[in-house]
C-alpha cells in the first residue's frame, strides 16, 4: 500500500499534465473558430487560457471538473436535486439492491451447475450468450415489461444491475465451488458426509477467495447496470441521469464530474468489498 503511494502519485501527475495538454489540443479548434468569427487575434497565452476555461469544452480541464465536483457535492445541500451526493445516493441504492439480487442469483445458479449435472451440461453457454446481448437495447423493454406487470420504482433498475452482476458471480462461484480437490471430496466421503454437509463445510468455505473476486467485478458491473437502468425510466435522477442530461445539453463539465464520481463510487464499493475480504479471509485463516 505504502510503496505504491509515490508511483501512483507520479502516474496521476503525469495524467493530469497530459490531460491539460489534451485540453489545449482538443479545445483549440473551437477557440480559433470563435476567434476568426469575431476577428480577434489569439496569442499562445490567451489561447491556453481560453481552452482551459470554455463553457462547453470538448475536454474540460481538470480544475474545471474539480470545481464542478466541489460545488455539486460539498457546497450543495445533499437533499438538493443539484447535489451529486443526492444523485450518487439514488444510483447507489439501485446498485446495492441489484448487487444483492445478482449475487443471490449467481450463487444459486452456481450451486445448481455444480450439484446438478443437467444444469451443468446445458446452462453455461447460455449464461455466456446472455452477456453478449446489448443491455442498453433491452433495458427499455425490461422496464416496460416490468411496468406492465406492475413493478416500478427501484426494482426495475435493480433488475438490470442484477442482469449484469450475476454473470461474474456464476463464473467465479462455479470455479470456487469446484476448487476443493478430489482428496478433500474423498475425505468427506470417508466420513459419510451428506451433500449439505460437504457444501457448508467444504465447498462454500473453499470458494471464498473466488467469491470475493467475483463480488468485486459484480459490484462494478452492478453500478454500470444501475446507470443504464436510469435511462429508460425517464432519467429522472441518479448519476446516469446526470450523464444523460449533461450530454443532452452538451455540458461536458457536468458529464465528466458525473463520470468521475461514478468511478469513485465504484472504487469505494470495490474497496469496501476488499476490506471485508481481507477481514473474512484473515479470520478464516486463508490470507
Amino acid at each position: 500500500m505504502r510503496q505504491s503511494f509515490v508511483p501512483v502519485l507520479t502516474v496521476l501527475t503525469f495524467l493530469v499534465v497530459l490531460w491539460y495538454a489534451a485540453a489545449v489540443w482538443l479545445n483549440a479548434p473551437w477557440a480559433h473558430d470563435r476567434a476568426t468569427r469575431s476577428g480577434e487575434v489569439l496569442t499562445t497565452q490567451t489561447l491556453i487560457a481560453d481552452t482551459w476555461s470554455q463553457d462547453k469544452p470538448k475536454l474540460p480541464a481538470p480544475h474545471q471538473v474539480a470545481t464542478e465536483i466541489w460545488q455539486t457535492t460539498v457546497e450543495k445541500n445533499i437533499t438538493s436535486k443539484r447535489s451529486l451526493v443526492y444523485h450518487a445516493w439514488v444510483t447507489l441504492s439501485a446498485t446495492l439492491l441489484g448487487f444483492v439480487l445478482g449475487t443471490g442469483l449467481g450463487v444459486l445458479l452456481a450451486i445448481g451447475i455444480v450439484y446438478n449435472r443437467v444444469m451443468d451440461m446445458s446452462v453455461m453457454p447460455w449464461v455466456i450468450a446472455s452477456q453478449t446481448i446489448p443491455i442498453l437495447a433491452i433495458a427499455p423493454m425490461i422496464i416496460v415489461v416490468l411496468n406492465a406487470v406492475g413493478v416500478s420504482g427501484l426494482l426495475p433498475k435493480a433488475m438490470i444491475s442484477m442482469y449484469l452482476s450475476f454473470f461474474p458471480v456464476v463464473v467465479g462461484m462455479v470455479k470456487g465451488l469446484r476448487s476443493p480437490d478430489a482428496m478433500q471430496l474423498d475425505q468427506m466421503r470417508t466420513w459419510h458426509a451428506s451433500a449439505a454437509q460437504s457444501f457448508w463445510k467444504l465447498r462454500l468455505p473453499a470458494s471464498m477467495p473466488y467469491l470475493f473476486t467475483s463480488l468485486k467485478i459484480g459490484m462494478a458491473a452492478s453500478l454500470v447496470g444501475a446507470i443504464v437502468g436510469e435511462l429508460p425510466t425517464g432519467a429522472v435522477a441518479g448519476l446516469g441521469a446526470r450523464l444523460l442530461a449533461g450530454s443532452y445539453y452538451g455540458q461536458t463539465i457536468q458529464i465528466w464530474s458525473a463520470l468521475l464520481v461514478a468511478a469513485a463510487l465504484a472504487a469505494a464499493l470495490v474497496g469496501i468489498i476488499g476490506i471485508v475480504q481481507r477481514v473474512t479471509l484473515k479470520r478464516m485463516g486463508m490470507s
Binding site: 510503496q3 446489448p134 468511478a263
Partner: protein
C-alpha cells in the same frame, strides 16, 4: 390455453431429454447437444408464453415472428453486421488488446509503472461506458472510428490486468532455471514468461469478445451513420419494429457467442498443455 400447455410440455420434454443425456456416459456429442436442447426448450417456452398470454407484439414478439423477420431482413442485418462488428468491434478489439498487451509488457518491465499504473487503471476501468460513449463520439466523429474507440476503452483494462498477471505466472523455479542458463530479459520473456502467460492472456481475450460487441453497439446509440446494429436497435424501438430489434439482438448474441467460441478454440490449441485443457 393450448399454447400454455405447449409451453409446459416443451419444458418437461426438454428437461427430461437433458436428464436422459446427463445419465449417459459423457461424450462430445452430449456436451454439444445439451445446451442446444436447453436453448430450443427456452425458445419453445417463450413462444408458448407469448402466444398463451397474448402478449402484445410491440412488447415482446414471439420467436417465430422474430425468425420470420430475420429471414426477410438478411440484407439489412448484414449491412449492420459489417458496420458494427467488422468495422467497429473488430478493429477496436484488435487495437485495444494489442495496445494492452504491449503496455502490459512495459508495465511488467518497470515495476514502478506497475505499482502506479494498475491502481489508476482500475479506477479508469470503472468509468461507465455509457458516460464514455458520448464523449468519444464527440471526439472521434459519428462513424465507426468512435465505436472502435469505445471498444478500445472497454477491452483495454481486462486485457492489461490479465496479461500483467499472466506474465507473473511462471513460478520462481522456472525463472531461476532461466537464470542458471544466463538468459536475459527478452529471452526469458519469449521462452518462458509469454508461454506461461497464455492462459491468462486468453482469459483477457475471451472477456474482451463480449465487451467489444456490447461496446460497439452501445456507442451507436449516441450518434452513428444510418446503419449499424445499435443504430437499428435504437431507431426500431422508436418505430415499434420490435421484431427487427430482436432479430438484431439474435445476431449480436450469435456473433458474440461465436467470437467467444472462436477464442476458446484458439485457446485450446495454444494452451493445449495447461491442466484445464487436458483430458
Amino acid at each position: 390455453m393450448a399454447w400454455l400447455v405447449f409451453a409446459v410440455a416443451a419444458w418437461i420434454a426438454g428437461y427430461s431429454f437433458n436428464v436422459w443425456l446427463s445419465r449417459r456416459p459423457p461424450s462430445r456429442w452430449a456436451s454439444l447437444a445439451a445446451p442446444i436442447v436447453f436453448g430450443i426448450t427456452l425458445i419453445a417456452v417463450w413462444e408458448g408464453v407469448v402466444r398463451g398470454f397474448e402478449i402484445n407484439q410491440v412488447l415482446l414478439p414471439a420467436p417465430t415472428v422474430i425468425a420470420a423477420r430475420f429471414v426477410t431482413s438478411t440484407e439489412i442485418l448484414w449491412v449492420d453486421f459489417v458496420q458494427t462488428v467488422f468495422k467497429g468491434a473488430l478493429s477496436g478489439y484488435i487495437i485495444g488488446c494489442g495496445a494492452a498487451f504491449l503496455i502490459a509488457i512495459a508495465v511488467d518491465r518497470f515495476p514502478f509503472l506497475q505499482r502506479g499504473l494498475l491502481p489508476v487503471g482500475n479506477f479508469v476501468a470503472a468509468l461507465p461506458v455509457i458516460g464514455m460513449a458520448p464523449i468519444l463520439v464527440m471526439w472521434f466523429g459519428f462513424d465507426w472510428q468512435s465505436k472502435a474507440a469505445v471498444v478500445v476503452v472497454m477491452v483495454f483494462f481486462p486485457m492489461l490486468v490479465n496479461t500483467v498477471q499472466g506474465l507473473q505466472a511462471s513460478d520462481s523455479m522456472q525463472r531461476d532455471l532461466m537464470r542458471t542458463y544466463g538468459a536475459g530479459y527478452w529471452r526469458t520473456l519469449a521462452k518462458l514468461r509469454l508461454p506461461a502467460a497464455m492462459p491468462f492472456i486468453f482469459n483477457g481475450l475471451k472477456i474482451g469478445t463480449t465487451l467489444a460487441l456490447i461496446g460497439a453497439i452501445v456507442a451507436e446509440f449516441f450518434g452513428s451513420p444510418v446503419r449499424g446494429m445499435g443504430f437499428r436497435i435504437s431507431t426500431s424501438i422508436g418505430q415499434l419494429a420490435l421484431d427487427l430489434v430482436w432479430a438484431e439482438i439474435v445476431v449480436a448474441a450469435i456473433a458474440g457467442s461465436a467470437f467467444y467460441g472462436l477464442m476458446a478454440m484458439v485457446e485450446r490449441t495454444v494452451t493445449f498443455w495447461h491442466p484445464s485443457q487436458r483430458k
